[in-house]
Structure formats: structure tokens, C-alpha cells
Symmetry: C2
Subunit: 301 residues, 2 copies
Amino acid sequence: MNRSRISTLLFFFIAITLFDAHAQSGGKSLAEKLGYPRDSKLLMVHADDVGVTHSVNAATIMALDTGLVNSASLMVPCPWFPEIADYAKSHPAVDFGLHLTLTSERVSYRWSPVASNDKVPSLLDENGYFHHDWTATTRIDPKEVELELRAQIDRAYAMGVRPTHLDSHQYRLYENGKDLFEVVLRLAHDYKLPVFVARDWFADHPYLETSLTSADIVLDHTVTIAPSVPPEKWTEFYKTTLKNLQPGVTEFVIHLAFADDEMKAATRERDTWATFLRMSFRAILFLKAFVRMECRHVGST
Amino acid sequence: MNRSRISTLLFFFIAITLFDAHAQSGGKSLAEKLGYPRDSKLLMVHADDVGVTHSVNAATIMALDTGLVNSASLMVPCPWFPEIADYAKSHPAVDFGLHLTLTSERVSYRWSPVASNDKVPSLLDENGYFHHDWTATTRIDPKEVELELRAQIDRAYAMGVRPTHLDSHQYRLYENGKDLFEVVLRLAHDYKLPVFVARDWFADHPYLETSLTSADIVLDHTVTIAPSVPPEKWTEFYKTTLKNLQPGVTEFVIHLAFADDEMKAATRERDTWATFLRMSFRAILFLKAFVRMECRHVGST
């Protein structure tokens, strides 16, 4: 098998293949557990922030329908969640996780917890929305986080979504200490869902590795574009990143939207965002074409 | 003074002129209390549902900035309220009331109470949003209504809005019994704000008249277009309605939006809505031009 082979995966596939088989798999890599050679290059193209606006929903549905992305995750507290929950309900084979959300980071357009506000005071700003951001003085209560995240997961199930995995909006549950990571891990175990964790993060946050059990699935790498990369460098970024893809399972995290009036207004505090979004859609088209080309190339050797 | 004179008013103007002067005004009509002859035709052109989407905000701001409407009211629980609250804060002379909201009537896009969900269970559907609609079996607790509406008014003040009046989304607080109307009336008195009530409604809902005190301001008439009027008849509707305007203060209630992707998706369960909205914007342009023409005509006689 050629070392440069790139295959695309779904969380759904990972979960059903591995979730009850971990005890027998010993020292095998994730690729091997999935039935691939140890040095395979396996790729998930994952759309984040779905449900946040209609624009993001419409772009993501287009990308899913045309095969441009093969995994996505949903923000339950956001106002447009019902639109994408309805799509998820009528497309049960699509790989939708829950993008567990504890912040409301826009300025003109805001959302609040699913749980009762009076049960989660540490998560709220002075107007009753989720905090715009967490600063050095923001004290987040892990018990309130757990209560809110259970409410998000329960609402998703109640509205017909059958999530394939859990992940964390703005990486808040990974980068803010062991207590918060243990909340998401406990939820993952309780609801029997994999949580998106990448081995790449262990060096910066050692508690991630020490909190995980042998039952947990760990992806090898994740790639997302940094805000410091200017739009005109996006295509080059994806091309270089794909060419340098390491063996193992990589998740490409992508943010899709149309550059329409709603999205421009929702992100107006960041004036490059509309261009950025338009570019991200072009980049993903390019990315997918590139992956297909690579796969065809491998197939013919 | 010519009987056909049409002047435009603001709630703001009505409130500051009348709110502390009612005791001295005896049997005078509202027009007379405002300093106009008894048979004057006074008009407010009022935009509803502001804050519900970015599209509605953008259309309403355009209409306010260009003088097409002279009054509007804001839906505090809606996700785009922060955008219009920010505009209201920086435009303190604009006549913004609060469009007190107890329902979430769209399908793909939903909102929830401002108060803690567990404090207002009778207002919630099974997923924690406001009810889509109230049916014969929906039991709404007036105490919960009061708690929720105080939370909406308090959030508006906290976010810098200085409301000129209160009114009710979908007329829910007028058409559902004396108890709910007494809630909004109590809030109006507590916060020293006029509540939009029209004498036209007294025949259908006698408790409106009996609940009011001599301190309350009552408009004479209200006009809004019925969903049964097809878009191609809108211009004719407005023209006829304006020509037949009765003496007294009339509020024209208008719903503005752009027929863009966000608004089409938000109202997709109602497939004529996008056209309807586009037409409503044209109709208001026509309406304002007509009012100006009439005023000029009166001015030259």
C-alpha cells in the first residue's frame, strides 16, 4: 500500500468500528484499529459551527450534499439549530456531532444557554447571554458546565438529532483545565459518544492524555487555518498541508458560510471575515478536488 | 384647518405631551390633547418585529433613516436584538417601543424567554423555546407572563434602550383575556410608559376599556394589512385606507424586511412571505410618498 494514500473517514465510521472493540486492540494505531495499514493517511473534512446562522447552515448543507465535507458538528444553543436539526433528522446517515457551546462570541447577534439561566450563572454575561469571551477573571463552574452541556445534548436528541460525536466550540473544553475536560469526557462516556481529541494537543495540555481511558478514541492530528493566514494564502496553505499530511487520522476543521448580508452583519466586528468565509468555501472546493486527485493517483498505481 | 390634514406623530411625542397631563384634559379627544383640532387626522407609521432577524433590522433602519416610518418596536428575546439595541442607543431620538414577545412563531429559527426557563414553564414548548402558537389547550400563567415581560423590559434598559412605549407581538396581550391585559397595563404604569391600545378593539374585547384608567393613552384607530390581501392589491389597500382615514390618531402597523436568503429561510413555512415582504417595502414607500403629497396639498390650500 502506497504511503501517500489519503482516505476519508467519518466519525460515525470510527465510532461504530471502534467503540466496543478497544479492549482487544492493544498497541495498535487508530489507522490499524480501523483496518488500514499503520502508516495510512486518513482524513476527515469537518465543518464546524453549524446552526450558528442560516448562512452557515446553507453552505454546510451544500458541502455535505455534494461531498465536499464528510463530517460536521452542530451548535445546539444557536437560533438556527432547528433548521439543521430538521435536516439531520431527515438525513440520518450524515455524520453530525454536537459542537458543545459555552460562549456567544459575536456582537450584534447573541445566544444564551439551553439550561435555565438561574442554574448556570457562571456561564452568563451581565445581559443573560453566554459570555462573549472568557478572561483571566471569568470563573466558570464545572458543575454548571455539565448541567448546560447535558441540556444541549438532551435538546439535540429531543429534536431528532442522533449525534455521532462531541466536540467543543472554540476548544473551550480542552484548553481550560482538567475539570472542564473531565466534564466532556464524562458526558461522552454517559452518552456513549466519542469525543474529538487529537494527540497533537497532548504536549500543551498533558491533562488531556492522563484523563483519557483506554476506551477513548484519539485522533492523531488536526489542522485548521490560523486567522493570521491572509485569504490569498489559503489555497497554498491547504495544498502544503495536504502534501505534508502525516500518517494517521487527521481532522481538517473548516468553517463554511456564504458571504451574504446575514453573515457579514453577524461578523461585522471582524471586517476581513466575509472575504475569509468566501475564501474558505473556495479552499474547501480546492481541498476536496485535491484529495480526489490524490486518491485517483493512488488508485492507479 | 382642513379636515383632510394628515400629520405624522411619534409615540415619544404623545408620551411626553400627555403622560403627566391627563388629569386636566377632561373630555378632550387625543388629537385635542395633543394640541390639534378635534377632527384632525393624525398618523403614526410603525414598524413591528424589529430585532427578529438582521433583514428586518436593516430594512427598518433604512426606513427610519429615510423617514419612511416614524415609530418602531423591538423584540427583546430575539437573537438580533443586540444589533438594534446598539442602533437605539446611538440614536436616542428615534421612537422605539418594546414589542413584548411571548411566542416564537417561525419553524427553522427559534428563540426562548429572557427569564430563566424554569421560572416560566407555561410559556415554553417541549424543547424550551417559546410556544410556536397558543392553542385552546395552552394554559398561560399571567404571573409567569409578568415575570418574563419584566425581564424583557429590564434587559432593554440594561442594554441602553430607552423605550417610548410598550406593545404586544401578535396582539397576544390584548386578545387573551383581562388577566394578560392587566399584566401589560401594570408594567406600563410601573415603568411609566404608554401602552399601544386602540379604541377600535374595544368592541371585540370589552375588558380593554374597563381595565384602562384615565391616565392611559388610547389611540383611536389602527390599520394593518390582512394576510388575505394578495400582494398585488397592497398599493390599492394603502391608497384606499389612507383616503378613508378617519379623524383621530391612527397607527399603521407595518412589517419591513428585505427579501433576502435569511428572511426567506426564516419564513419558509409561508411561501408567499418573501414576495409579501418585498411588496410591503414598496407599499411603505408608496404610503409615505402619498402622505407627503397629501401634506403638501394641505399646506398649499
